[in-house]
């Protein structure tokens, strides 16, 4: 079969001592994630599981769990999150059913309003609600319904937290249920209708049971988000004396400083456990919802509402007006008010608050610039890391890169408070070799942002990478191109829109960040989120509202750009197009 033996002994390959180009890139990504993610999270766990002062095994953990303030905060967290989740499920599910299954009009506009909470951070939502319901509420005053001056805002309470978080996280349930309904095959419903079921009956007996797992998956996600929420409990719960786990950690660190890092790490472990448990449940429910319907077919045909359409539409708009548009209007109105308590009308309206908050007040101006810079840097660096990481895990199928993919998700899946503690633990001591600490500088904020938001760039880039045929990369290898050249000439041009989308997503999220910044900022290194919080506490809510309104405006502008870009992106690249 084979021809005559080779005339001479073949030359042996030199044994390779160093990793090849691709190995080096992988090593760089490993180092990046180890530095920003694995090390802080590992340190946090080690710290929390350490013995206490008496040297008892897991003593720190036990001491904390037995303390009264911890049990109270834990109970509050579970209670408020559970109630908020019920509200989210009721709102999100009904909206998803109405929008996906009926022929109501203006679905794009309705969806946009429903998705606003993805763009507007919790602390701004909470602030808007405070402006809407407080004694100086420009809208309630207009209607003559405002509480008497001096009364406490009713939202400073458990009910207030439940209401705002419930509305905030309804979007997550809405998205989950809508995705579930989209995957239901049309013929199941058609068969039910041929069997004589009217639309309502078909919905209740066929669609609702099949959508149930996705409702549960959405609920689990809403619950996890509520547990880790900081903005709402911070704005409503601290004045309302309703401590939750995230605010307990915040107040302890603020009050006692880094000396109690071990103790707060122990509290943080509980947050991690709750988040991981919730996310595991969500994964379970998602799998279940996919297995319930394994076929794909044409999507559901919306039911005609007939004469009920107008009343239903009016109802939806009314609900959305109350939960989304009114608070935002109150926020804008408050930002135009010359001073607290002065009634707002065409003559009194002023832009002074904007001038003050963005330009003339030094700290606030600094915060604005800091956040812009941090958001831009995080966006660019994360997109730049996401591309080689997704390349190695998707196109090159390197097992290590696939594991890193999961690592990159973690800092965003767990509550930001937890990540911040890990970052402090690692970066408070002077950096080895350099002898300086980045704690108290803007760099620690950048490190935390890089860890937390990488996944937001990685998801769209991964989705984009999955549409690329591996043979495109292989053809370039055959043509002699090394790994960097392939990433630059073949991969980058094809995933650039997805990377840009990820970058913009990070930019708006980082611009609005509060949870992590609240624990890592220092004087002179403020961020917008921190500043809104501070201005509100100083009692300057017009200025807080102005800063918040400006941020929302920037966010919406970028979201609009993202929408334009969205047409060139694969499905799932932008969260609200899932």
């Amino acid at each position: 079969m084979a021809d005559a033996a080779l005339p001479m002994a073949p030359r042996l390959l030199p044994r390779r001592l160093l990793p090849d180009g691709e190995g080096l890139i992988l090593l760089a990504v490993v180092a990046y994630l180890a530095l920003f993610t694995l090390w802080p999270l590992g340190r946090l766990l080690a710290e929390a599981l350490a013995p206490n002062a008496e040297g008892e095994l897991l003593g720190l953990l036990r001491d904390q769990w037995q303390s009264r303030s911890f049990t109270r905060a834990l109970q509050n967290t579970l209670e408020a999150s559970a109630f908020a989740t019920v509200l989210s499920v009721a709102l999100g599910t009904s909206m998803a059913f109405l929008l996906a299954l009926t022929d109501v009009r203006a679905k794009t506009a309705l969806t946009f309003v429903l998705l606003l909470p993805l763009l507007i951070p919790p602390q701004i939502t909470a602030l808007s609600w405070l402006e809407l319901t407080g004694p100086s509420s420009p809208i309630l005053n207009l209607l003559g319904l405002a509480a008497a001056p001096g009364t406490t805002n009713p939202l400073y309470s458990r009910e207030g937290i439940v209401l705002v978080m419930g509305i905030e996280h309804a979007t997550l349930v809405f998205l989950a249920v809508r995705a579930g309904l989209r995957h239901l095959p049309r013929d199941l419903v058609e068969a039910a209708r041929l069997a004589g079921a009217k639309p309502l009956r078909a919905t209740l007996s066929v669609i609702a049971p099949l959508a149930f797992p996705s409702i549960l998956a959405g609920a689990a996600l809403a619950f996890v988000s509520a547990i880790g929420n900081f903005g709402v409990p911070a704005l409503l719960g601290i004045p309302g004396r309703y401590p939750m786990l995230t605010t307990l950690i915040y107040r302890r660190l603020n009050g006692f400083g880094p000396s109690i890092l071990g103790e707060v790490a122990a509290i943080a472990v509980v947050l991690i456990l709750l988040a991981v448990g919730g996310l595991a449940l969500r994964a379970l429910f998602s799998r279940w919802s996919r297995s319930a319907v394994e076929r794909s077919s044409a999507p559901l045909q919306p039911f005609a509402l007939g004469r009920a359409r107008l009343p239903v539409e009016a109802g939806i708009w009314l609900v959305l007006a109350v939960i989304a548009l009114l608070p935002l209007t109150a926020l804008v109105a408050s930002s135009l008010t010359p001073a607290l308590g002065v009634p707002l009308n065409l003559h009194t309206a002023t832009l002074d608050n904007y001038r003050f908050a963005i330009f003339s007040q030094a700290a606030s101006h600094r915060a604005f610039m800091n956040s812009l810079m941090l958001a831009a840097a995080t966006a660019v660096v994360s997109a730049a890391i996401a591309i080689p990481l997704a390349y190695l895990s998707i196109l090159r199928r390197r097992p290590l890169a696939r594991a890193l993919d999961l690592v990159a998700d973690t800092p965003y899946a767990i509550p930001g408070t937890v990540l911040a503690i890990g970052i402090i633990l690692v970066y408070l001591p002077p950096l080895p070799g350099l002898g300086v600490s980045i704690y108290g500088t803007i760099w620690i904020l950048l490190v935390a942002y890089l860890a937390r938001f990488l996944t937001l760039a990685l998801r769209p880039v991964t989705a984009g990478m999955e549409t690329l045929e591996p043979a495109l990369d292989e053809a370039a290898r055959v043509a002699g191109a090394g790994p960097l050249r392939r990433i630059w000439s073949i991969v980058l041009p094809n995933v650039a829109p997805a990377a840009a989308a990820g970058g913009l997503l990070i930019f708006i999220t980082a611009l609005n960040e509060l949870t992590v910044s609240a624990l890592l900022w220092s004087s002179g290194k403020e961020t917008i989120g921190v500043m809104i919080f501070a201005l509100h506490y100083e009692g300057n809510s017009p200025a807080a509202s102005a800063l918040a309104t400006a941020t929302v405006a920037i966010t919406l502008l970028i979201a609009f750009a993202l929408g334009l870009l969205g047409r060139r992106l694969p499905d799932g690249a932008v969260p609200w197009r899932a």
């Binding site: 084979a2 030359r11 044994r15 292989e474 290898r477 055959v478 043509a479 002699g480």
Partner: protein, 349 residues
Amino acid sequence: MARVRFEAVTKRFGRTNAVDAVSLDIRRGEFLALLGPSGCGKTTLLRLIAGFETPDAGTISFDDTIVGQASRSVAPEDRGLAMVFQSYALWPHMSVAENVGFSLSVRRVARPERERRVSEALAAVGLQDFASRRPHELSGGQRQRVALARCLAMRPGIVLLDEPLANLDTHLRETMQREFRRFHGESGATFVYVTHDQTEAMSMADRVAVMDRGQLQQVGHPRDLYREPSTEMVARFVGRGMVVPVEVERSHDGFCEVRLDGLLVCVLGAAKEPGPGLACLRPENLEIAAPGDDVLCGPVVDTSYQGAATIVTVLVAGVGELRVQHTGTPPRLGEQAGVRVLDAWLLPS
């Protein structure tokens, strides 16, 4: 132009041996077709040559340099070969000219030289007017030509082709087959051409290597594969052969006398000693005859019209179904027919 040598190469995916102890010598400048049923390991063998896969055992060498073995392997980008992918793998964001010139710019070929070679390659495939188009603005056949031009511009010593014509219609396929032959002749490169279409393999290649379940069955000139298959699999796969049990009586000078259902027939091939064996029959070497003692007999169970001829299937007791190529009016279904064996081949035991 290089010689590619496999020595006892095995590649496993989990439990399956995609390539199983293959030894194969691909000669300098030859056109070798890799033929086999789906899933037999053709693509894996090709990817081993390209360096996308590393062997689990054995060595692969180009000329006198080992390029692949379990412990170390030369990266595909350093092997200096070219490949035409089944999906063409044209880079969607580059124009036709950029696609063709990419490997040259990677190798830092100076611009004037690069442009000259790109336009030469495009002219060779008749696409000089399409240089600035994007791949999605081309038809399937044109994309195929771009993929070929991209190969040629590299002036590689080895060209690998993985079912390059699978996505084209029959007419275009024949045209492209001729072009591939022509380019093989002009470039002088070693061509390794994967296909599961035996007509394609037989008509294009200098030699054909038949694979089955990861193992190399036979390598040889197309004519030899057809006339003298060495295994049952090759006999059945190439030329739709039928393998039937026979009893060898005597063997001499490359001929054998065998008993086929009691009937004594003379077939080509050699047997070491008398006894049971297997013979390969082909429809075109059988003939329908009047039933009698000097032919195999049985009822006609199927007739299938093929244009120039009809394939008549006769069920012969003790032998099985025999397909016979028949011109003229075919016998009716159920009628008794005789089958005369004109030529046959005894498989080596």
